[in-house]
């Protein structure tokens, strides 16, 4: 298992190796490292301009034409209450599949694919991350790095993605 660590750069469904959900794509938001289950990731693409959706919360960046499919894009920084920054050449959109819906997450940069054993995953502490912990599955440890593992289902299926209009004033 461990020898597969970096072999999975090509982040695609088909090439994703079943790892009991213990293989994670990690990316950066500010100083912190976050991880998503690699099987959730459909692709990674460079940031391109999106179309704003009227009357939606600020963290919903807009929609994008992904080869003919309309995909909503979420600005994770805003979602997590972090200040927005200028987009750089490293800014990417991580396209994930959540409950058969395709969505894109804007992150500062992708870093690695990490193998994290179940025993190295601890429940999220009540403080210490800038994140509302309900979006976390836990904190993973890979070598000297700590990775906040995101719970995609909870993160992206809350009210503003699925239910009708709730405008944050």
């Amino acid at each position: 298992m461990a020898e597969q660590e970096f072999a999975n750069k090509e982040l695609n469904h088909q090439t994703g190796i079943s790892t009991d959900g213990s293989q994670f794509l990690t990316f950066q938001l500010g100083e912190e490292l976050y991880g998503v289950d690699i099987l959730r990731v459909q692709e990674i693409k460079g940031y391109t301009a999106v179309t704003r959706i009227p009357n939606t919360p600020a963290h919903i960046k807009g929609v994008l034409n992904l080869r003919g499919t309309i995909v909503p894009i979420v600005e994770l920084r805003t979602k997590f209450g972090m200040p927005t920054i200028e987009y750089t050449m490293f800014t990417v959109i991580v396209v994930v599949v959540v409950k058969e819906k395709i969505m894109g997450l804007v992150v500062d940069a992708v870093s690695d694919v990490l193998d994290i054993d179940k025993k190295d995953i601890q429940p999220a502490p009540q403080f210490g991350a800038q994140v509302d912990v309900s979006f976390l599955n836990g904190i993973g440890k890979a070598g000297d790095k700590l990775v906040a593992l995101l719970d995609m289902d909870r993160l992206l299926t809350d009210g503003d993605m699925t239910e009708s209009e709730k405008i944050a004033a």
Partner: protein
């Protein structure tokens, strides 16, 4: 095992639907042409196929019931019974029952046994002679024309068990019999077969029942069995045959000869010989001086006219003309060539080649557009499919309402998107019912008004611009302006002081719960329906309009987009954002003058368009955008209409008009108020299509003020 069969079952249900449609159409035509043997054959074939197929899948209720219908049809076909209105009624009722039975078979629901049995009983009762209990596996012999003096022998033969030990082969006997005449029916009796454990391969357990048509007499037949007469169970029954002057074509089953050759009963040459001896019915009839050659050729002409293919039923799959597909493949070929030319050019591009590049891009554009059109064309099916249910409906309605109604269909070949066709069936039914019940007067009233007794309902479909128009027209009494007005006031839909144009008054009948019929009938008058019609049509992006002349009739016109996937849109700009407004909802666009604008404190703004005040909606307010222009006199106002309501929507600029492909927002996100869907613009970015109704809701609920 049953799961393996399931997809065949789907095919069966689909096919049955087609057969049912064929039968229904046939029965309705039969009333006009009761003597049409060809038509009867077509009906019979439909029923026969359903019977056969349902039996195969074990839907015994279906096959048994169909068998009863088939028996009646068979007697009609062989002129043992005459087509009467009563019989057609019965058959149509049975057809409905059959539909229900098939539906039950599909869903696994329990059918109404009593009803089925009652109808079955009536079907049996109406026949001259009780139907044979056995299903006919081979086309009934009546279909064939036989020279006079032919005997039909029914031979039942169970050879002795030791047959093989004597070196005899039963097949030889059967062959010999076949060589004496034509075997019209051959059935195997495997009743004596023991269980496999007890089976002795050297014993003969089988028996046969066959029907033989031959000019030879009983002695010759009997002689065939000379060697095995002892210990055989043999009965030979002689049925003299009347010749039927029917020129029926055999049904879906293979011709008997083919089967016999395949099973090795007769050889191909023997068969050909036998066939060459057969004469055509026409020739026989002329020989017998029953008919003149002229009459025969007349009848033949009629026959060829009647062989127009039956219309296809509505099914979830689409059958596409191979020509259409071939053209598409050619186009794709061209596209591939253009693409390779482009990539070739791109790999070693110099500025001097720019004109070449532009030319090829233009070619690519042509290809793409053509492919788009052709692919859309695949989804296009003739509207005749949606019309096909109306002859029956009108027949039933005229019976119930006691009116004489003639239905005239035209423009059945007009093609439109399959999904649209599926969705307009119900609204059209409502309109036709409405015309039959409210529109057309009873016969006496018609005669008193100096109109022919028979009322006419006309259904027509035609293309007009980028949309399709369907009209439902009747020559009845027309809408009663005063009555509708009075009713509208009574129901509080309008105020007495309201000044309404005729058009606005007619639109009242589309309000929920509106009905002016004095008495509620089985057919209509409950005031449910017309509002549904309007809602459905508008849901498809279409409109309904009414034209009526008192005493002369009413015409409903449905205007529908050709397809649901593509709409004609106007692209508009607000600040940095581009939106698409459905062209169908745009009445006009204006740049208002200062004096046309009024603002009412707390109520918003109004704009005076030729005497009518319309609410002014700033799109940037509703969607919270940053506009370039905030002065209406410099911006553009689009006058939009939805469900009879008008609003002026302010945008910065009109960019142009284009066809856009509608993409779902709900697929990956959720519904957004005021947005009907998304589309991909020329530059690859996403644009939103405005939903006028939704915009009105937003501005009314004042969500925009939250900003």
């Amino acid at each position: 095992m049953s799961t393996d069969l399931s997809h065949f079952k789907d095919a069966f249900f689909e096919e049955s639907q087609e057969h049912l449609t064929t039968i229904e159409e046939g029965l309705l035509q039969l009333e006009q042409r009761p003597g049409d043997i060809d038509l009867l054959n077509r009906i019979f074939r439909g029923a026969h196929s359903i019977k056969g197929n349902s039996g195969m899948f074990g839907f015994t209720a279906v096959s048994q019931f169909t068998h009863k219908m088939e028996s009646v049809l068979d007697q009609l076909r062989s002129s043992q019974m005459v087509v009467t209105v009563a019989i057609t009624d019965l058959l149509l009722q049975s057809l409905d029952c059959l539909k229900t039975l098939i539906d039950c078979a599909r869903t696994g629901a329990a059918p109404d046994e009593a009803h089925v049995a009652a109808l079955g009983g009536r079907l049996e009762a109406c026949q001259g002679t009780p139907a044979p209990g056995q299903a006919t596996a081979v086309p009934a012999a009546d279909e064939r024309s036989l020279p006079p003096g032919t005997h039909r022998f029914t031979i039942t033969w169970a050879p002795p068990r030791y047959l093989f030990q004597r070196g005899l082969d039963p097949a030889q006997f059967l062959k010999e019999l076949a060589s004496l005449g034509t075997v019209t029916h051959l059935a195997l009796d495997a009743g004596r077969l023991p269980v496999l454990m007890e089976l002795d391969p050297e014993q003969c357990y089988l028996g046969w029942t066959l029907e033989l048509e031959t000019g030879k007499d009983l002695k010759v037949i009997d002689a065939v069995f000379d060697f095995v007469r002892e210990d055989s169970t043999l009965t030979i029954v002689d049925n003299p045959v009347e010749t039927h002057p029917t020129a029926a074509v055999s049904d879906g089953a293979k011709p008997l000869g083919e089967i016999l050759v395949e099973t090795g009963v007769v050889s191909q040459t023997q068969l050909n010989q036998a066939l060459s001896q057969q004469k055509k019915v026409g020739e026989i009839l002329v020989e017998q001086k029953v008919a003149t050659p002229e009459q025969i050729s007349e009848a033949l002409k009629k026959q060829s006219e009647c062989t127009v293919p039956a219309k296809k039923a509505e099914t979830p799959s689409i059958r596409v003309d191979t020509v259409k597909i071939d053209r598409l493949i050619n186009l794709v070929g061209e596209l591939v060539i253009t693409q390779s030319m482009l990539s070739d050019l791109g790999s070693r591009f110099e500025m001097s080649q720019l004109p070449v590049l532009l030319e090829r891009v233009a070619q690519l554009e042509r290809n793409t557009r053509e492919i788009q059109e052709r692919v859309m064309g695949i989804r296009m099916v003739p509207i005749g499919n949606a019309f096909s249910r109306f002859p029956r409906l009108v027949r039933d309605l005229s019976g119930k309402a006691g009116k004489k109604i003639q239905l005239i269909l035209s423009g059945e070949e007009t093609e439109l998107d399959k999904t649209v066709i599926e969705s307009i069936g119900d609204p059209l039914t409502h309109l036709v019912r409405n015309s039959a019940d409210h529109g057309l007067e009873p016969p006496d009233e018609r005669l008193a008004a100096g109109k022919p007794e028979q009322g006419i309902i006309r259904l027509n479909a035609f293309h007009e611009g980028g949309s399709i128009c369907i009209t439902v027209e009747d020559d009845g009494r027309g809408l009663n302006r005063d009555k509708i007005l009075a009713k509208g006031i009574k129901q509080g839909l309008i105020a007495e002081s309201d000044k309404l144009s005729d058009e606005q008054i007619w639109m009242l009948i589309f309000k929920p719960g509106f009905s002016t019929a004095e008495k509620v009938t089985d057919v209509s008058g409950r005031g449910v329906g017309m509002d549904v019609v309007k809602r459905n049509i508008e849901g498809l992006g279409g409109t309904v309009s009414i034209k009526t002349v008192t005493g002369k009739g009413t015409t409903f016109t449905l205007k529908l987009p050709l397809t649901l996937a593509i709409i004609e849109g106007m692209t508009v700009r607000v600040g940095q954002d581009t939106y698409i407004v459905p062209l169908l909802s745009i009445l006009e666009s204006i740049q208002p003058k200062r004096e046309m604008l009024k603002s009412i404190v707390g109520k918003g703004e109004l704009v005076n368009v030729r005497g009518t005040y319309l609410p002014l909606m700033r799109l940037y307010d509703v969607f919270r955008l940053e506009p370039e222009l905030s002065d209406p006199t410099k911006a553009i106002l689009l006058i939009l209409e939805t469900e009879g309501e008008r609003v002026a929507v302010m945008v910065d600029e009109i960019l142009g008009q284009q066809q856009v492909v509608i993409k779902s927002m709900e697929q990956n996100f959720r519904k957004i108020e005021g947005v009907a869907g998304a589309t991909i613009l020329g530059d690859g970015t996403v644009g939103f299509i405005l939903d006028v109704r939704g915009l009105l809701n937003i501005s009314r609920n004042g969500t925009a003020q939250a900003a």
